[in-house]
């Protein structure tokens, strides 16, 4: 392998790599704004200037190919002086907006001004003024003054989102970014430009002015918007989710996620219509009751029916653990009618990330055995059997059977018993005789299997009533660490909900020792014993990147610290 020397350190590189790439692979960071590992090289920011021996001038590390025997200095006097000059140049027209700017705290320009700037400006003149609030698209706000013209967003829309919607206009210090005439910056991936924007020029209309990043905690999770299962971070303040951002996983989503997943998969967690505590239908009205009353009522009522009169509906929104517990419960009752509903939008798929299947765990639900058992019926027949009054009791876990279907609503109201696990009061829950409050994906441990057969872990980011951020090892913001119960910023609503596997375990617990689980790890251990595809897997084996089922090897766990900005 060819070798080059960066700062006295001899490193190997692959032929064709640039100096910046060779350095990055060996832990040497060369400052950069316009260069991004996933985008083409633009070379316009000039902050990656380095000194290469035997070259007459400084060269930019992002577009200079590394060659054998090359000697590079990133900390020489000449380099540092040039870098300082470039930083000073950037800061001439960049507004001193940091107190107002949402990027503060995760801003590359701010970071570099500290580490590579000189700390003062020689510029006395009036800064160039541009438009501060430009709505580039339905989800993006553009502040032209803050832009440092790195062109990352332009290259992103062209190369990654495959929709060439942005461009530079004007020249010199008047240069700015705009959409093409009559166009709006509205492709399904626009919000990724907010992530890669090294300054606060592009901000998300949904997130802007909500909080400071340093006041939130972040938790590694997986998006539930479709069967891709993009790796995400959940950002929480005062027990409320404020945003989702993508997390690097080269096998699944690289470093991107779609706008739909980012905006529409977390708001229901803190919604007003959350089921808060178990509810029983008393005289036609859902009344909040104690857990024990709900458990005993549900169990007693279920026992009134013959196994053939009962049907179970699992869910591809629920984790493997939930579905596994449900199947085991159904088996223990002798019920064979069990299935789950598919939620696909035919045609809503692309070659980038978005998948037709809008649930995160279809493969997992099938692996856990959520399908008609020997002699049982699938979802279509179950509906027919309800119509003909042969199925009288229905147990629905974390799915809405009705949605906008009024015929289904009539059908379900015929049932003698409808038990529902629901996070929010959807139409199915409103019809139910017993409603158990189910934790959302952001409130529990568990695993999903995506369409690539990759099993991935989710962790709780929001605490429910039974949980404690400290005792349960959840991620904490500074506020969470030092707050007391008397502080208003610690009094965020905690819903009285539990993960479905726990509800099932407690519901059947009185009569069934086999379903006694204390933690999601216990359930997973059980799954790893009985489901062949997951044989000998351990939760710790999944790392934060997941494992492709069938390829599992001991020690294949990978934990990657996303560092791609």
């Amino acid at each position: 392998m060819p070798k080059l020397t960066i700062d006295e350190k001899e490193i190997e590189f692959k032929q064709g790599q640039t100096i910046i790439e060779a350095g990055k692979d060996n832990g040497i960071e060369i400052p950069h704004f316009c260069w991004h590992p996933k985008l083409s090289i633009s070379g316009n920011c000039r902050v990656c200037l380095v000194e290469v021996e035997k070259m007459p001038k400084l060269v930019i590390a992002c577009s200079t190919l590394a060659s054998d025997g090359m000697v590079v200095h990133t900390q020489s006097e000449k380099t540092i002086k040039a870098r300082n000059a470039v930083m000073e140049f950037f800061l001439i027209n960049h507004p001193l907006d940091c107190p107002i700017c949402d990027e503060a705290g995760e801003c590359k320009l701010q970071d570099y001004a500290y580490s590579h700037g000189v700390g003062e400006s020689r510029f006395d003149e009036e800064k160039v003024h541009k438009r501060k609030r430009v709505e580039l698209g339905p989800r993006i706000m553009f502040d032209a003054e803050r832009c440092i013209s790195c062109s990352r967003c332009i290259r992103f829309s062209d190369e990654i989102a495959k929709e060439n919607q942005l461009t530079f206009v004007k020249r010199g210090d008047r240069v700015t970014i705009t959409t093409f005439p009559g166009e709006s910056f509205d492709n399904p991936y626009t919000l990724n430009t907010v992530d890669i924007c090294p300054v606060g020029a592009l901000t998300s209309l949904d997130w802007r002015f909500k909080t400071r990043v340093w006041e939130t905690s972040s938790t590694e999770s997986v998006c539930i918007g479709c069967s891709r299962g993009c790796n995400t971070e959940i950002w929480v303040r005062n027990n409320k989710i404020l945003r989702l951002t993508p997390r690097q996983n080269e096998e699944v989503n690289e470093t991107w996620m779609c706008d739909h997943g980012r905006l529409n998969t977390f708001k229901f967690v803190n919604e007003e219509d959350r089921v808060d505590g178990p509810h029983l239908n008393k005289n036609g009205e859902l009344v909040k009751v104690e857990w024990n009353e709900a458990y005993s009522t549900a169990f007693k009522k279920l026992k009134e029916f013959k196994p053939g009169e009962i049907a179970f509906i699992g869910s591809a929104y629920a984790t493997n653990e939930d579905n596994y517990a449900l199947v085991k419960f159904a088996k223990s009752l002798g019920v064979t009618n069990i299935d789950f509903l598919r939620h696909t939008i035919p045609g809503d798929q692309d070659d980038i990330l978005i998948r037709e299947d809008k649930t995160p765990n279809t493969v997992g639900a099938l692996l856990m055995g959520v399908k008609p058992l020997a002699g049982g019926n699938g979802s279509k027949q179950i509906i027919e059997l309800i119509r003909s009054n042969k199925i009288k009791a229905l147990y629905v876990m974390e799915d809405d059977l009705i949605g906008d279907d009024s015929e289904m609503e009539k059908l379900l109201s015929k049932l003698n018993l409808l038990i529902v696990h629901a996070s929010n009061f959807n139409k199915t829950a409103q019809l139910a005789h017993v409603v158990f409050p189910a934790s959302t994906y952001a409130e529990k441990h568990g695993t999903f299997v995506n369409f690539q057969n990759r099993i991935q872990r989710i962790k709780p980011a929001v605490a429910t009533e039974e949980m404690d951020r400290t005792l349960d090892g959840m991620s904490q913001s500074r506020w969470d660490k030092f707050g007391s119960k008397y502080d208003r910023w610690m009094q965020g609503k905690k819903f009285d909900a539990n993960p479905s596997w726990k509800i099932i375990s407690r519901l059947s617990g009185q009569s069934n020792q086999q379903l006694k689980y204390d933690t999601a790890d216990d359930v997973f251990e059980d799954i790893a014993k009985s489901v062949t595809e997951l044989k000998s897997l351990d939760l710790d084996d999944l790392g934060n990147q997941g494992v492709e089922l069938g390829s599992q090897k001991v020690g294949s766990a990978k934990t990657v610290n996303s560092e791609l900005s």
């Binding site: 107002i100 002015f209 008397y486 502080d487 208003r488």
Partner: protein, 164 residues
């Protein structure tokens, strides 16, 4: 061992008692004639100098808006975690204002870091030292109690400009 002379051993003159009494009374009468330095608080209020660090307050501009842009630096620097700020967007030029600004006066230690870190001179230490509350909830001061018209804070703002 010989008797050691101790400090508390009285001299002959002191043992006579009366001379010392008159000495003491002379001092008392002398002080009675000097001007009084006692302040009759609470009938008379102490007005502290500009350097005094009373409770932190928010500057209210002449048009009734808060000067604060809700950057959250005071909240971040506060060693006692007394300050909570929640921003929101505004149509004004400053783009951002505090939707919620609360100082928990039980937590506050009057260190003045919030004032020092503020990039807008929007939070300053006032001359107000009379802080009374009867419950934890009362001790949390919201914007209603924190906002003070800029005219009343001239002293402190001038002091900051001269000495900060």
């Amino acid at each position: 061992m010989p008797d050691k002379k101790r400090k508390k051993d009285l001299t002959f003159a002191q043992k006579l008692y009366l001379p010392e009494i008159f000495k003491g009374l002379a001092l008392t009468f002398k002080s009675m004639l000097k001007p009084s330095v006692t302040m009759e608080y609470p009938e008379v209020k102490f007005v502290p100098p500009a350097a005094y660090r009373g409770r932190p307050v928010l500057v209210e501009e002449k048009d009734g808006t808060e000067r604060c842009v809700a950057c959250g630096l005071c909240s971040r620097v506060c060693p006692a975690l007394a300050i909570e700020v929640q921003p929101e967007e505004t149509e004004l030029e400053k783009e951002r204002y505090p939707k919620l600004f609360e100082i928990n006066m039980i937590r506050c230690i009057f260190c003045g870091f919030c004032e020092e870190v503020c990039p807008e001179e929007a939070i300053v230490m006032s001359k107000d030292y009379e802080l009374v509350f009867t419950s934890r909830e009362d001790a949390i001061y919201g914007k209603d109690k924190l906002l003070v018209p800029v005219d009343q804070l001239k002293d402190r703002l001038e002091f900051l400009r001269n000495f900060k």
